[in-house]
Subunit: 232 residues, 2 copies
């Protein structure tokens, strides 16, 4: 692997694990056993590393948003694409952990992130509109506008939400995967009231898949204080 790619991969790992603010370019160089000068040969500063990681993340998300719109996509396919997006968001979760700080720090990233947000919301709405056109989604334009914004906020907030409860103390891969799937379950729940009768019979199986054996009870997501509240 080229040094430039190794720097990006290591930065991503350290930013996710420790928070971007707690990781300096010196930390990154030391972790890779290269000199700070070598790192600066590839990246002018930390902002440039963050920006390159954002571009990778953006490319991943956009590749999943541009699904064929010819009507051959099933609801299950759409849900599967959503899962890929959530996985990318988790892989680059440092971006959403303290987004306001990153955006305030770097005008280039700020402009790029805003364009990315608008484009992704617009693309997501187009997917819902095409579902409405083909009769899969029984919702007005107004309802679709509100729905896509609710989906967007859920998706961009999910990894921060998980980290803010207790996931950081239990970083086991299986728990992480189960809780990412839970986001898909929550999005299916957002769409369910609007789905046509042809799709509804598919939902029990899909929901079961994305609950991944967990309880529907949201209080089970707050495990450390569960004993305290379960008998209220």
């Amino acid at each position: 692997m080229k040094t430039k790619d190794r720097i990006l991969l290591t930065s991503l790992k350290l930013f996710n694990e420790q928070g971007e603010r707690n990781v300096s370019t010196n930390h990154i160089a030391a972790y890779l056993n290269i000199s700070p000068g070598n790192l600066y040969y590839h990246f002018r500063n930390k902002n440039e590393i963050v920006y390159q990681l954002f571009l990778q993340y953006q490319a991943e998300v956009q590749s999943f948003m541009t699904l064929p719109q010819d009507g051959d996509i099933t609801y299950e396919d759409k849900v599967h694409y959503l899962e890929s997006i959530l996985n990318s968001m988790w892989d680059y979760r440092f971006l959403h952990r303290d987004l306001q700080h990153l955006l305030q720090d770097d005008a280039t990233l700020r402009d790029a992130y805003r364009a990315f947000s608008s484009r992704t919301v617009a693309d997501g709405r187009n997917i819902l509109l095409s579902m409405a056109d083909s009769g899969v989604l029984l919702a007005s334009r107004e309802q679709i506008d509100a729905l896509i914004l609710n989906i967007w906020i859920l998706v961009v907030s999910w990894s921060s939400f998980l980290q803010s409860i207790s996931i950081q103390h239990n970083e086991a891969g299986t728990l992480r995967k189960a809780l990412l799937k839970r986001a898909i379950y929550q999005i299916i729940a957002l769409e369910e009231p609007f789905l046509c009768d042809d799709i509804k019979p598919l939902l029990p199986e899909l929901k079961k898949k994305y609950l991944a054996g967990a309880s529907t009870d949201p209080l089970t997501l707050f495990p450390t204080v569960l004993d305290e509240v379960e008998n209220r």
Copy 2:
């Protein structure tokens, strides 16, 4: 006003404006024109100030969650309580801006925040369950479980979401108020599919109130790049 209260009020203001990480106890003392020693007489450290502010925030939110459950509450009343909660969340928005950092930094706050989250989600669910019991909300237990989690994530993420788009460049009180109202609009949209026919006629008026003259189009929330995307 007592010095202790002035310290809390000033800390809240500075944390919200500049981010908690960028404000030291020395900054707070200098802003108040008191000595650091005077500040330390009232608070051992910054964590203790954050924790006291959290307790104030918690008390405000819980006062709005414990509405009478005797069926005399109308849907409009419930929406009005929600608005009060959103206002409190905005007033203490530094808490949700980089929550993971605050929780990692202080075990006392961590335990308190988790208990608060679980309790608030449980209380919110009880409100939805009592609406279901009285026939206002036509939803299964499973649907209510998913709905309350979606409402919770929307509410705790809303001020960060606003700040991450462009609100920081346009801190005018009217815009702030309009965008807080938009969160209520989004929550009404979450509940709408489940509301009984008696309530539905109230919704156009309520939605209009909480849209506050704005477009339903979510892309209008990303104003700085609007030109770029509106003709897509």
